[in-house]
């Protein structure tokens, strides 16, 4: 099940709906660069529940048709130039949601349920603009009780970076349970990992509790510092200088092309 980064990127077809986690949960920037190198097109990104530099760079590289999430944020490095330009000129479809609705839609897919219901949201303008949600009457209440019905989102593939895989193809994600939900709610998962261990993760109950079994996984690439230049959990720190460099270069399409040439197609990044 261990494959190379470029093999991993080849498993994501053009037009695929890809689920990616928020920055705190382990972003596979290595897979992101591999997708840009294979010139992926028309991707539908689902940021679970938000996304950041990963989606900004995929948008900058022209890989994205639709961006569906609750936010796109570079944190202290906001605003994201390619995303904001795409929003303004309408060059990508934006589906704005709210974090718990994204989680609920992914979890509905994980359960094979047609839709989930949620409290809240009613009164937010995102509801009027969302192409998929419906407000329905709670069938268990005889008085007026509108609830938001949120159809399942089943991505074609979940893509993320995790600390550890074993040689049987199981991956440890620890307390980042949304990664388990994303993988099980998607048709498959493609994962880059910091380390590979010879011990089977499921044979140790402490590790098993935080392990995604191989059944749900379509490929694993061993890739140290796979989140660079983003932080990774409590380990790898964010490379703020590099993100500032991206920001300074990415002000316009020409600058973005130059950045990608140097740091994605070229030798300027660790993966």
């Amino acid at each position: 099940m261990l494959i190379t980064l470029s093999e991993l990127a080849d498993k994501v077809p053009d037009g695929a709906k890809i689920a990616v986690p928020a920055d705190y949960a382990g972003i596979s920037m290595a897979a992101t660069r591999a997708l840009i190198r294979r010139r992926a097109r028309n991707l539908h990104i689902v940021g679970v529940p938000t996304s950041g530099l990963q989606s900004e760079m995929l948008i900058a590289a022209g890989c994205v048709k639709t961006y569906e999430s609750s936010a796109l944020t570079l944190g202290e490095h906001n605003p994201p130039p390619a995303f904001n330009e795409a929003v303004l000129n309408g060059s990508i479809n934006i589906v704005d949601a709210t974090c718990p609705a994204i989680h609920a839609a992914i979890q509905a897919s994980q359960k094979g349920a047609p839709f989930a219901t949620l409290r809240g949201i009613i009164g937010s303008d995102i509801l009027q603009h969302h192409p998929d949600w419906k407000v329905i009457q709670n069938p268990f209440n005889e008085t007026d009780d509108p609830v938001v019905a949120i159809p399942a989102i089943q991505p074609d593939v979940a893509i993320f970076h995790a600390p550890l895989a074993d040689r049987d193809g199981n991956v440890w994600v620890g307390r980042r349970r949304e990664l388990i939900n994303m993988a099980q709610g998607s048709k498959t998962a493609l994962i880059t990992v910091e380390k590979v261990t010879d011990d089977n993760l499921l044979e140790n109950e402490e590790f098993a509790a935080g392990t995604l079994p191989s059944l749900y996984i379509g490929g694993i690439a061993h890739c140290e510092k796979g989140t660079w230049p983003l932080a990774f959990w409590q380990g790898e720190d964010e490379n703020g200088d590099h993100i500032r460099l991206y920001k300074s270069m990415a002000k316009d399409p020409a600058g973005r092309a130059e950045y990608l040439e140097k740091f994605v197609f070229g030798e300027g990044s660790p993966s």
Binding site: P21, A22, Y24, A25, V48, P49, T50, S69, S70, A71, L72, T73, G75, E76, N78, P79, F83, N84, V87, L88, N89, G90, I94, D96, A97, T98, C99, P100, A101, H103, Q107, L118, R119, G120, I121, I122, G123, S124, D125, I126, L127, H129, T143, D144, D145, P146, V147, R175, R176, R177, E178, L179, I180, N181, Q234
Partner: protein, 242 residues
Amino acid sequence: MSDIENRKLLISIIAGLLKDCNHVAVGASSPIPGAAALLAQELWGQPKHLNILGSVKNNFFTNGAQELFDCAAQGRIDAFFLGGGQIDGSANINLMGRGDYPNNKPRWPGTFGSAYLYMLIPKVILFREEHSKRVLVDKVEFISAPGTSDETVYRKGGPYGLLTNKAFFLFDKEKQRFNLQSVHPGSSLEDILDNTGFEFDYLADVPTTPLPSDEVLDVMMTKVAPRLKEVYPQFAEAVLAA
């Protein structure tokens, strides 16, 4: 009043609002609310449970990113903080952007969990340092999360108050208006009226926000700063320990 003194004042005000809470959650990029929650714990042993996004030591969630939202929906989070690029007089907040959606200019990051948490957490404190007509508007251009809802809508939570670097307002749920509670030292009622884009209720002799005591400032420096450092090292050093 220096920026640092002002921020310590904000921390002490927020801390006072959290002392009756069992569980407080603090979102991303929120050093002042984070410091305030830690200060309340140090001063009163409350909130007993605290989740600061980005922290390891002060974050006990183990069920993934959805746990914050599930926990709020279960009624297990007592207080939370929301901001907004625009906040209006009905406590609607806009985290989406200026101009016509979806082609906003500027576009801000997005709604995050606000459309949910604002409806479910009983004490949502609106917090935005900038006090200007640019931010505090008559009507937001996009409602990321509504300040009020009609009675058919399930709503357990909502706005408690609004804190800026100039003043603190309570939100009057009956009147659906803000009510000015106190003006921070260095500002004045006139200054607030000049820089607020929405109408609000106030007394002519509005009180001045009391400064934190030396004891409280000492706890910030000696107890809160070391704990906050884990998540906000620069802020802890530059503001709290100063």
